[in-house]
Amino acid sequence: MKEYKEKIFKSLITIGAILSSILVLLVFFYILKESIPFFREVQIKEYLFGDTWSPLGTEKYSFLPMILATLYVSFLAIFIATPLGVGCALFLSFHVNKKYTKILLSFIDMIAGIPSVIFGFVGLIILVKFLENNLNMGTGESVLAGGMLLAVMLFPYIVTGCTETFEKGKMKYYTASLSLGVSKWYTMRKVMLPFAANSIFVNMLLAFSRAMGETMAVMMVTGNSPIFPRLLGRAETIPSLIALEMGTSTYKSIHYSSLYAAGLILIIIILIIQFIAHKINKIGSR
């Protein structure tokens, strides 16, 4: 009877897990299926190494500008968000009264709950305008704007994760270090950062996949020009490309299929980056 219950429980859990996994796999499968006509039709040297995206006019399908733009915007966001986020996590764990830390953290967490349409809208009205006025740009839509906006959206991912780790490190090492007479800043610098290095890295990775997939917000502030990206120039990311053209593309055309192909390439890039990152991480931790 008891054994029975254990079995039922285990089966229920397993079914749940399998169901989730199947759903996830189906998503991948679906993207693959819809993109196959494109890969049949278009040469790899065109879609990976061409330089023009013009699906309707000259029927040129190069993802390269978008791939580069996606990487550029995401890396920029990570490079802005990580130092600020780690600094903020240190600030919250070591410099702020515990009571406030919790409140502040849950607020920062809730940034993840603000719909990206709102972010895009605010970004367009405030950030783009700000860049226009201060950087002497003709128009503020740019990789920089996308990166900055995305960085804000990534704050919760980095801050929350790192704060948890720093709290653990604090419990473990803090007084031991202070009792050697060194300052709390030296402790953070020399003990906490190395201790948290791995966790910072993992959080960065999570944030990175999130950044690569973000659509609405980025779409509203980068200008969406399918050209090679420059920091202060316009650019179009893969998710923006898909969102912009999917609604209007002709059903079952090569153009339609190419947008799924773009999605597939996005997934592959994320996988490659995760793979490289794990390798680096392994070497680093040796």
Partner: protein, 276 residues
């Protein structure tokens, strides 16, 4: 001496980034709340969209109801599936490779643009399974979107509950299932609740997944699971995208953010009562 300088620079970095992020966070929230506050009235909260173009007058009540319903439904589905997945990964998955691949796939899904998830939901549920565009199909699509989000967080919480307690319970002759239900889950309840809260909030804020699977520009309050529905983010999207009314958009954002904040608060609160 040199350490003093390094310490000082370090301190500068820490304090500045702390203050930057905190002020950006507070800034974003207060900007949105400030901009939206003027629009709020009983008519706005309890009325339906009116005026020409639609939405420039009247209220957003059906959208509030629709968002809450779809949020709760996908929270329910996502919560159950996410919890199952997390429990499976932590306690039952013996094959390390399988575990690794599932995790990898989940993380990857988090990086798929939500438009694609929306299109997937459309193809699978509406075209493939012949469901109507409805609350149900939209909630299922949202569930797919939040499963990685929820299960990765819950997995972390489960892993952090003491392994010693788990083994100690097993050594009393008690099987995993009972231990998980009576010990591990109550222990991690707070984290499970907050993860769930964030998941619900994430679902409630998403536009693209419901755009093809159930959200419509105008409807009443859905009375069945098979009814299409209005949702706050979609309403906002239409208002902003067609340039219908910026003020109403800020008002809608205000309501959405207040709901987001309340759901988080409720989840924190519920998470805290249980652990007495």
């Amino acid at each position: 001496m040199e350490n003093k300088i390094k310490d000082f620079l370090f301190k500068l970095w820490v304090i500045l980034s702390g203050l930057t992020i905190i002020s950006v966070t507070i800034g974003v929230f207060s900007y949105l709340l400030y901009k939206g506050f003027n629009v709020i009235s009983t008519e706005f909260i309890f009325g339906s969209p009116k005026g020409i173009p639609l939405g420039t007058e009247g209220g957003i009540f059906p959208a509030i109801a629709g968002s809450l319903l779809s949020g709760l439904l996908s929270g329910l589905f996502g919560g159950i599936l996410g919890l199952c997945t997390a429990i499976y990964l932590v306690f039952y998955c013996e094959n390390k490779k399988v575990k690794h691949y599932i995790l990898q796939a989940l993380q990857c899904l988090a990086g798929i643009p939500s438009v694609v998830i929306g299109l997937f939901g459309y193809s699978l549920l509406i075209v493939g399974l012949g469901m109507h565009k409805s609350l149900m199909s939209a909630s299922i699509t949202l569930t797919i979107m939040i499963i990685p989000f929820i299960s990765i967080r819950i997995k972390k919480a489960l892993e952090e509950t003491s392994n010693e307690q788990f083994i100690c319970s097993l050594s009393l002759g008690i099987p995993k299932s009972y231990t998980i239900v009576k010990l591990v889950i109550p222990n991690a309840f707070k984290y499970i609740m907050t993860s769930l809260g964030l998941g619900i909030v994430f679902a409630m804020g998403a536009t693209a997944p419901i755009m093809f699977t159930g959200a419509v520009i105008i409807s009443g309050i859905p009375s069945k699971l098979t009814d299409p529905f209005m949702a706050l983010p979609y309403h906002l999207y239409i208002l902003v995208n067609e340039g219908l009314s910026v003020d109403m958009a800020y008002g809608t954002a205000f309501v959405l953010i207040v709901i987001v904040l309340s759901i988080n608060l409720i989840c924190h609160f519920v998470g805290n009562i249980e652990d007495i």
